[in-house]
Symmetry: C2
Subunit: 656 residues, 2 copies
């Protein structure tokens, strides 16, 4: 059977005289081999570890210069520090102080969200910003605790141990997770795994952030209503149930009154700050003012005796060491590592998204791998000094930028300010009402919900919107991890589905030109008689789509042959496969090509291939495909292939 | 900042006069919208449930004809049965008898491999072939138990219950798994999930089959050496350990002698059958002869008294009902469902691979979805009548084909023959030595190990070889499931990596033509001065690769600009992005395009886009990309875009 088919095929080839083969067609099979896996890896590694020569004399640079370059690479402060001016310093001091006035109340609130005592939030605003200041490449980013990571941390760790019942173990787990997250971030940076941050698509982040913001908002109902008992679950159903059951118990409207009035105050200040750009500092210091005013009011009226919940647990002094609280071979280390990797990726995603957007405004480029190193070392150092996972916060970075920060020096100023606060003013926080912390967190949430962007995504790409919606619904009704898992699963499913069902298009010629394009996309294009031109629109013809492509092509050819039954003149004589989009092919793809050729040969139809990609053509040369199809039937462009087929057919027709 | 960049960008645009814009360029933005998700789904569903009109008058066909078409669609026997001749029947009877002579000993051996009593193998050769005969579309496939599925079934179910300790529960689990596997197969067919079979790439199957063959071979050491105690694990390390420790106990060389001599006999017969095509039946009946001879010899010499292990447990009579043994709400149903889905996919993969290869020799097309339905119903019916998972066997299908089978009638003949055997000859199996069963299974294994194909895969595609090796090593050193998981993971990782790091190529013009191609692939191509032409070689520009593509392009442009520093004449004036391979794009990809445009505008470079794919161009129209880049700078082909950029630049140069 096979032998018969082969004979028939060779008969077809000889009937089609290779008449007008252009010179360019020879190029396809004679191109040099593409770089192998080894060369490509070597190039990547070489690029990664070669220090970038700055300026002209990079090549002949002496050893000490090389060391300096390497040091500057790891500590960008050495680079910008040289040209740092007093004027910049003045701007940075102003920005740093503004940042601190926003950062201190936010940090206390986020510590509460992370189910830690308030001082841990402040600790986290001391050490990581200092480390980031000497290692980071972004000039605007403000480092410290953020809402989403705080939520993530508490919601995942409380599945292992209850923070209310055993706060010491809970803290030790938090520091272990922070340490591991830092280690993961450092290794992402070292092994140049920056692409991991891209695994969360923009759409997924939009949905995830919106869901997380609502969940965080719901958690604040506890503080806002002054409830003592609350659910540990984060999903909307549990929280609403918990609130409903708590409202049956007696509750104190004082909390609610304080929370709402200061929330309105902060939002009003922000509105004014947005309206009059010069007054933006109003929005930055509003939270601090709220804390001071509410604390003073509670202290003056002794409202805590009348049911207003206050912080109470305060602890003055700077960061204590937490080295002994990190347990790397405890019973929960595997779970901690899982939590750490999620926190590491989320923290990096937020920081890099924030950093990139501000870098793009200022017109410089952020080095993702260096950012990862800086973040990682910040967190490792933080975990040793009682900090939890820190990252770049969107709201504080925006304030830092608006306040005119010129360099990471503003982070240092903020860190020093928080340090002084920890030393001197902690005891004043005793009377700060919990409701004000809730209102500060609530006021930061609208920035996380980007309805406009979600509408945009819906308008442009329905599948992307599905990812966004999946993340949102997953976070809201499941948990933070479920939301993330759903978003990543949908995103990857999208890529697989795209590979699974590639477009296969029939091409036509634009009249009067040599341009071939899809007749569905460009209905003015005319199909060439007797030659069927098909474009395979996938960059990787592989096991997952080879059968689909093969069957689609064979079905079309059969339909065409049946349609022209009897009318010999209209019968298809040749099929041209435009493989210019096919960059790579695997063994299943090659087998599919062989089978298409065999099928076409059995119908007496010539097959030609146009412009296969570099890797694809090399593999076709090694496999039997080129021999089967014939070297003469592989062309550089569709136009040449169609011309050759047409003139060959004309030759045959004349012979007949 | 942003405003300044926008102003600069618009300045660049006005400096470049749009002088020579070809008419074809207008087509790009005026093409009709691509079919939406809804239309595409409707088309797929419509195609699936529309009965194919055979011949001319399909449209106006009356209702009864439609019913007949539908029936013929489900039962292909109604189609080929009409033109079935006596001559074909005679061929089928011969083929069926040959098949039975091979199938009976194989079935008993495979039942042993599945850790079931011998009669269950025979039962499985009665019912499923009958069902398949009326529903299947392949004419050559021989249905029954196969080695890999038997191994898979026993190795996975024995993790739940030990077949030696509790054979009744084990059997009940086997039937439950078989029932569920059938249900899964039917639903794959109904929902047209034929592509699931493609998830196991050819390379993965080659590696998996080779690994499974070695594992099955190792399992036969128990029978061949006549061991009483043996490991339940299938990995090579455990088996070698078990054999070593068993050899310390007294063992009976009689078993080994019987096994080896009949193995040599069967292999010799096969060699003769291959050498002289007319004697192929020798290889087909060799196993049956071995069984008869060895049984007679053992009976005559009473060798079972001297340590030769014999089957002993035989049970005459046809398939009993096993309806009551299927437990769909038992404690192990979830595990059974997991095992069933693996078995269903593996069984289908093997059957469809076998069916397709023989269909392609005979020159007809196998309908994957109908095959799934037929297999599924065979297994559902089988599970109700004491059969375990059946599928198309490669060795028996080859014998069926060589014996001249014309239709599925040969399956019916085989089934009847096995039925008669069950009724009349079962008691003779009492004295059959286990070693002969082992030698029959061993003799079938070399067909599963395709070293030549593995070499071919290595030659053509190293990544595919990695999949193959992963499956092989996974099966050999882990377990059958681990091997499968490794193979699928590597295959999908390949697709993700391919999307993650697409090629981005600088294009050059072939002298004297209007053909642009990669200067790496075709070093004769010359770069156009002042215009940088870049092709994005991915069919889906999405979140996973958008940042990479953007950074690669911006880095190139920056390098070029730095290299031409000072020499205004050589400076790049425009960048043309060839997006003809980009079929689809998501919001991240669109953002990347916007950012590339912004960056280029800030460098005073014009950006042009050539030939974006259908979905991509629609999304670009909806998003701000087209507005930012400018409608005038979107072209159909690279040639047109480059010409326009060059002439625009010439205009500017003259003005200066």
């Amino acid at each position: 059977m096979e032998a018969a088919a082969a004979v028939e095929s060779s008969a077809t080839v000889s009937a089609f005289e290779v008449s007008k083969r252009p010179d360019t067609a020879k190029l396809v099979l004679n191109s040099p081999g593409p770089p192998g896996l080894r060369e490509e890896l070597a190039a990547v590694v070489g690029k990664a570890f070669r220090p970038r020569a700055s300026g002209g004399g990079g090549r002949a640079a002496p050893r000490c210069a090389w060391v300096l370059t390497a040091l500057q690479c790891v500590f960008p402060v050495l680079q910008w520090g040289r040209s740092y001016t007093l004027k910049s310093f003045r701007s940075d001091v102003m920005a740093g102080l503004t940042l601190a006035s926003l950062g201190i109340p936010q940090s206390i609130g986020y510590a509460n969200l992370a189910k830690l005592d308030p001082q841990y939030g402040l600790y986290t605003s001391v050490v990581p910003p200092l480390i980031y200041a000497v290692m980071g490449t972004s000039r605007e980013i403000a480092i410290g605790p953020v809402a989403v990571v705080s939520l993530l941390l508490s919601s995942m760790i409380q599945n292992i141990v209850d923070p209310a019942a055993d706060p010491a173990t809970y803290r030790s787990l938090v520091f272990t997770v922070t340490f591991l997250a830092g280690v993961f971030q450092v290794s992402f940076g070292l092994f140049r795994l920056g692409f991991l941050v891209d695994f969360l698509s923009h759409a997924a982040i939009v949905g995830f952030m919106a869901g997380a913001a609502i969940v965080i908002g719901l958690q604040q109902l506890k503080g806002l209503l002054g409830l003592s008992h609350f659910t540990n679950s984060t999903d909307i159903v549990s929280v609403i149930k918990a609130v409903c059951s708590a409202l049956h118990d007696p509750w104190h409207p004082g909390n609610f009154f304080i929370g709402c009035s200061f929330l309105i105050f902060i939002l009003a200040m922000r509105f004014i700050g947005r309206r009059y750009k010069k007054l933006f500092w109003l929005s930055a210091i509003a939270p601090l003012i709220s804390v001071i005013l509410s604390t003073a009011a509670v202290y003056a009226t002794r409202a805590d005796k009348h049911g207003v919940k206050i912080i109470q647990k305060v602890h003055a002094g700077v960061n204590p060491s937490s080295v002994k609280q990190i347990h790397l071979n405890g019973p929960h280390t595997a779970e901690c590592a899982k939590i750490a990797i999620v926190c590491a990726v989320i923290a990096l995603t937020e920081a890099i998204a924030v950093g990139r957007s501000f870098a793009s405004i200022r017109g410089y480029k952020l080095d993702g791998n260096k950012e990862m190193l800086a973040m990682g070392f910040s967190n490792v150092a933080g975990s040793l000094s009682s900090c939890y996972v820190a990252t770049g916060s969107f709201s504080r970075t925006a304030v830092n930028f608006s306040a005119g920060a010129r360099s990471t020096m503003s982070n240092i100023i903020m860190s020093i300010t928080v340090f002084i606060t920890l030393e001197l003013f902690m005891k004043f926080l005793y009377y700060t009402p919990m409701a004000v912390l809730a209102s500060i967190i609530l006021s930061a949430l609208p920035g996380l919900i980007d309805i406009k962007e979600a509408c945009n995504i819906w308008k442009v790409d329905k599948m992307d919107f599905l990812t966004c919606l999946g993340a949102f619904v997953g976070v809201l009704f499941g948990s933070v991890e479920i939301g993330l898992a759903v978003a990543i699963a949908i995103s990857f499913a999208k890529i697989i589905i795209h590979s699974l069902r590639p477009q296969v298009e029939i091409l036509g010629r634009l009249q009067g030109t040599n341009i071939f394009c899809s007749i569905r996309q460009y209905p003015v294009a005319c199909r060439t008689p007797t030659v069927l031109t098909i474009r395979i629109d996938t960059s990787f013809m592989c096991f997952i789509n080879a059968t689909f492509i093969k069957e689609r092509i064979i079905n079309w050819v059969r339909e065409e042959v049946e349609a022209s039954d009897g009318k010999a003149r209209e019968r298809i004589q040749a099929v041209v496969l435009d493989m210019s989009s096919v960059v790579n092919i695997d063994t299943s793809g090659l087998t599919a090509l062989e089978e298409i050729h065999k099928e076409l040969a059995s119908l007496g139809i010539q097959m030609a291939i146009a412009g296969p990609g570099w890797n694809a053509v090399q593999k076709m040369k090694v496999s039997p495909v080129v021999d089967r199809v014939g070297e003469d039937w592989i062309f550089l462009t569709v136009g040449e292939a169609v011309e050759a087929c047409l003139s060959a057919h004309k030759g045959t027709a004349l012979e007949c």
